[in-house]
């Protein structure tokens, strides 16, 4: 009895936290010396020997229209007034709203047969961002947490998951690490970050800074260093005598935070280092500059960055929710989206980063093929489009097709879980890998029933 009890508890429910703790301990946070944090910085030893793959997620808050972007319907009344244009890939047409992207089609695979289960903003956001339905007590992690957890490097100078101007109010859980815990939570920049009280007056440039990175105004740098050394020294005793996940995680978070505060890697957030012409090409707005920041982060080894396009004018929240005046709204939105995304692909390519960076475009659902009485399109999860571009996929092709009226998927419907599993494969992660969940049983990265689209992988 007693032996069984012991064995069960060692390999059973606590194994994950134990493993995590060992990892954190091995990373040198559990018992470092007097001025450990600062010495570590001086040594500056972490180097990325073999580049891992990265993901940039372009999130279209509110649910982007498929017909006025990638799934044109020129021969049907549902197609609306916007015209198709030809692209750099013969035979492929997309909407005139995306002229710059149309020249880069060889890097792009629109998946036109998305068919998902949630037409409500909150539930749809959760569904697409976690690959699971919001149900029961399991706190599913957002895909950024899942993938950065797999692709990330322990002890990196920059966080493994950065989220730029997320609009989280629909469903904050869809933006969080869920059962993976705060260690896998994103570093959020951008004023859409607050759920409760966004700072609406901040300019886009201020808002792309990391909050609380500098010591308070009346604290000098040398005083801050003294404080940090004293804290690390004082804390080491408690860390030794009180082992456990909360203690190890506290130490690990502080050491990562200090590393960021004092590392030149944080220069990644300083967009002034870039040529003005390039900044113009991305677009001088929050989304455009967010995409530029994403490139700078990926360049420095950050495995997952998401940039949210929440709107262009006025309130930045769920601009793609175009229930009325869809066509005008889409023109405005794509005037920001098109240059930013196209420049991002081009910029990554010029720097040799495109092969190893997957750029994903999606929202929580698509929009009705039928145009409503207010020239708008409503929520539609039955047949819509997401896009994979860049590394890991074979661009220059469509996957899936909808009927001429756009109302049904013709063949190969793709679920949220299928999409997540495909993204996993494109960056070399096994979607059937498991994590221990908050309900004490292991959960796979993607739903076990997911069927990844192997045909479009590079």
């Amino acid at each position: 009895m007693s032996a069984a009890f012991k064995a069960e508890s060692l390999i059973g429910r606590n194994s994950v936290s134990r493993r995590d703790w060992m990892r954190m301990a091995a990373a040198g946070v559990a018992g470092s010396s007097m001025s450990g944090w600062l010495e570590e910085l001086a040594a500056d030893t972490v180097a990325h020997k073999s580049r891992r793959r990265s993901v940039i997620l372009l999130w279209m808050s509110g649910g982007p229209t498929q017909i006025d972007t990638f799934d044109v319907k020129p021969d049907h009344v549902n197609g609306g007034p916007l015209k198709p244009i030809s692209t750099s890939v013969p035979g492929m047409q997309i909407c005139e709203t995306l002229p710059k992207l149309s020249r880069m089609m060889e890097h792009i695979v629109p998946i036109r047969s998305m068919s998902t289960k949630e037409g409500d903003h909150s539930r749809g956001t959760y569904h697409l961002r976690t690959g699971y339905l919001p149900q029961g007590p399991v706190h599913y992690p957002t895909l950024g947490s899942l993938l950065s957890n797999e692709l990330g490097v322990e002890n990196s100078r920059l966080p493994n998951f950065v989220s730029i101007s997320p609009f989280r109010r629909f469903n904050p859980a869809a933006y969080g690490p869920g059962f993976l815990g705060p260690r896998s939570s994103p570093l959020i920049v951008g004023d859409g970050g607050r759920v409760v009280f966004p700072d609406e007056n901040a300019t886009y440039e201020q808002s792309l800074q990391v909050r609380n990175l500098d010591q308070a105004d009346d604290v000098t740098l040398s005083q801050a260093d003294r404080r940090l050394a004293m804290l690390n020294d004082f804390d080491s005793g408690f860390r030794r005598s009180h082992p456990g996940t909360p203690t190890a995680s506290h130490a690990s978070a502080y050491s990562q935070a200090v590393r960021m505060m004092r590392s030149h890697a944080v220069k990644a957030f300083d967009l002034d280092e870039e040529e003005d012409t390039l900044r113009e090409a991305y677009g001088k707005n929050q989304f455009g500059q967010g995409c530029l920041l994403a490139r700078r982060l990926v360049e420095r080894g950050v495995p997952f960055v998401e940039v949210s396009l929440n709107g262009v004018q006025g309130n930045q929240n769920f601009g793609w929710d175009t229930h009325s005046n869809n066509f005008e709204a889409v023109k405005t939105l794509t005037s920001v989206l098109d240059p930013a995304w196209a420049t991002l692909l081009n910029d990554l390519n010029l720097r040799g980063l495109l092969d190893s960076t997957l750029v994903v475009w999606m929202g929580e659902f698509g929009r009705t093929p039928r145009i409503n009485g207010s020239s708008g399109r409503d929520h539609w999860a039955e047949s819509w489009t997401t896009v994979l571009s860049g590394g890991g996929v074979q661009g220059g092709q469509f996957f899936g097709e909808t009927t001429p009226d756009g109302m049904k998927v013709k063949d190969r419907p793709v679920s949220a879980a299928d999409l997540l599993a495909t993204i996993c494969h494109a960056v070399g992660v096994d979607p059937m890998g498991q994590n221990m969940s908050n309900v004490g049983r292991p959960i796979r990265i993607a739903d076990p029933e997911a069927k990844p689209i192997m045909e479009i992988l590079a």
Partner: protein
């Protein structure tokens, strides 16, 4: 098929066991010190397992460790420096018991346990903006009931039987009632079934919603039969509104439910497989509540007792605390039986359990070990586990340490969370992982504690009340000042080596410049000393010892 049959047998066997193992409530007269008796019983049953596993427990906690822990667990924040000082000075032998009694009678207990039960009952509010909006009436209702010392079974009964017709949680979000419980589950039978069985019975039947349970013995029909108790509620249709502002109603004639995607119609059925007669003209939820909260329902009392245990130890006897199943047996079955039957015997008085648990030697063990090698299986309870604080506990504790005082009305009651320092802090520090021994700190949280405004104001020379107090206090030297900062934050006195190092740090800041350089004047010397003390205060507030419950 055979699985379901096996489970039913097992369920009945468990009830039988429970009823025969412990004599029933009414027969035993209560003695004045039931608390100590139960505390001893806990210790005996826990120690039995240590023996079996050849494990030695850690030593008892000292007064400082005990006081900080019990304040955090019962009152939801750390004690003040004065509370600690008074407790150390008290020489009476029953002071640990007395401090628990005092805390249980105070307002902090009400706030803390309301936060606790809110997190259990409406976890959706942590992540859903709409649900957050409905909370004021619910939280005020919960605090009022806890303040009235309402027994646990009555509290659950009130939630289960609340008349819903004519209510709307969005419009009447300041009305004191538990309607937000229903709205947060979207008044859907399947959500309410999953939530109530998990929360009140520790049974996770929700997997059976879509398919027969893969690990356990629940069938899809068990789930929908149970869900049928909640099938009669709906939203009054309203023109020109997308629905959520319209009122709820309950059709007492609606007694069955059609399993979605099938033609199968099921009757309201308990998880034991029995279908009760529901009196005409009443809510089926009344009938369900009778069964659910019955003293003979072994799952109800056990789940409650296990949850309270889990709160105080960070780990349940059944763990996770709401996952009772054949595949997840309790670490100490006998102890769970005892706690549950004592809870029943004391008419579901949760405070009684709190008194007994905190009086046990097991609860009072130190969390400190020599090294990580000395850590035994936490489910043996041979050492107090280190627990992370909730966002609410951390915020309130910072308030205690720095001497800010937020009134109850301002921070809690009826106010929509928006824009206040507290609301921002709670948002930044909330962790949807509710396991106290698994809580983590994020990089943004660390940055906020180190460089953010809250801590900077708290330790700033211009703005900190605690700091101002100790700097000006007549007759204090640097060691007394540092000692006071320790008491205010860590609720203990510094150890000699710690004191020596911090005093040396502060003294060196005012040391004379080398000969030849200009010597600082008295005013500058004071400024430097004050700055150095603010560094000490900052260090203590950022330490893991401050941020954790141990």
């Amino acid at each position: 098929m055979t699985g379901a049959y096996r489970f039913s047998c097992c369920f009945i066997a468990v009830i039988g066991l429970c009823l025969t193992a412990e004599p029933s409530a009414a027969e035993q007269p209560l003695t004045p010190d039931d608390v100590q008796k139960l505390a001893n019983r806990i210790d005996d049953l826990i120690a039995e397992k240590w023996k079996e596993n050849d494990v030695v427990s850690t030593s008892p906690s000292d007064d400082a460790e005990f006081l900080r822990r019990v304040w955090l667990d019962v009152a939801g924040k750390i004690p003040t420096a004065a509370d600690s000082q008074d407790f150390f000075d008290d020489q009476s032998s029953d002071k640990r018991r007395r401090v628990v009694d005092e805390l249980l009678n105070g307002p902090n207990y009400v706030v803390n346990s309301a936060n606790f039960w809110r997190a259990v009952l409406i976890p959706e509010a942590d992540t859903d903006f709409n649900v957050q909006f409905m909370l004021p009436g619910f939280e005020s209702w919960l605090r009022q009931r806890l303040d009235e010392d309402k027994a646990y079974d009555d509290l659950v009964r009130e939630i289960l039987t609340m008349p819903v017709s004519g209510t709307n949680a969005f419009r009447n979000r300041n009305t004191l009632n538990p309607i937000a419980f229903y709205e947060s589950k979207e008044i859907k039978p399947e959500n309410l079934a999953a939530a109530t069985s998990r929360m009140f019975l520790g049974i996770r039947i929700e997997c059976a919603q879509c398919h027969d349970h893969p690990f356990d013995t629940w069938k899809q029909n068990d789930f929908w039969g149970y869900a049928a108790f909640f099938a009669a509620m709906q939203r009054e249709p309203q023109r020109g509104s997308n629905g959520f502002l319209s009122q709820l109603k309950e059709l007492f004639s609606q007694r069955t439910l059609t399993v979605p995607g099938t033609d199968e119609v099921v009757k309201a059925t308990y998880l034991t497989g029995e279908s009760p007669e529901i009196p005409a003209g009443t809510s089926a939820r009344m009938t369900l509540a009778d069964w659910m909260t019955s003293k003979d329902n072994p799952y109800f009392a056990r789940t409650a007792a296990n949850r309270v245990w889990g709160h105080f130890f960070g780990i349940g006897i059944v763990h996770p605390v709401d996952d009772f199943s054949e595949l997840n047996p309790p670490s100490h079955p006998k102890l769970l039986d005892v706690l549950a039957s004592e809870l029943v015997k004391h008419d579901f008085d949760m405070k009684f359990l709190v008194r007994a648990i905190t009086a046990s030697r097991t609860y009072q063990l130190t969390s400190s070990v020599r090294s990580a090698d000395d850590v035994t299986d936490p489910r043996l309870f041979s050492r107090m586990s280190v627990k992370g604080l909730t966002a609410e506990q951390l915020y309130a504790s910072i308030g205690q340490a720095v001497g800010t005082h937020e009134t109850f009305e301002e921070s809690q009651r009826g106010r929509f969370q928006g824009g206040t320092t507290r609301a921002r802090f709670i948002e930044e520090f909330s962790d949807s992982n509710s396991e106290p021994t698994e809580r983590q700190t994020s990089v943004l949280q660390a940055l906020s504690m180190m460089n953010g405004r809250l801590i900077n104001d708290a330790t700033g020379l211009q703005s900190s009340r605690t700091l101002a107090g100790i700097l000006d206090y007549p007759g204090f030297d640097n060691s007394r000042r540092i000692e006071t900062l320790f008491l205010a934050t860590l609720n203990r006195r510094p150890r000699p080596d710690e004191l020596e190092r911090f005093v040396a740090y502060v003294d060196s800041s005012t040391a004379e410049e080398p000969p030849g350089k200009r010597q600082p004047g008295e005013k500058q010397r004071f400024e430097k000393r004050d700055k150095a003390l603010s560094d000490v205060f900052w260090t203590l507030l950022n330490s893991s010892e401050f941020s954790l419950n141990h």
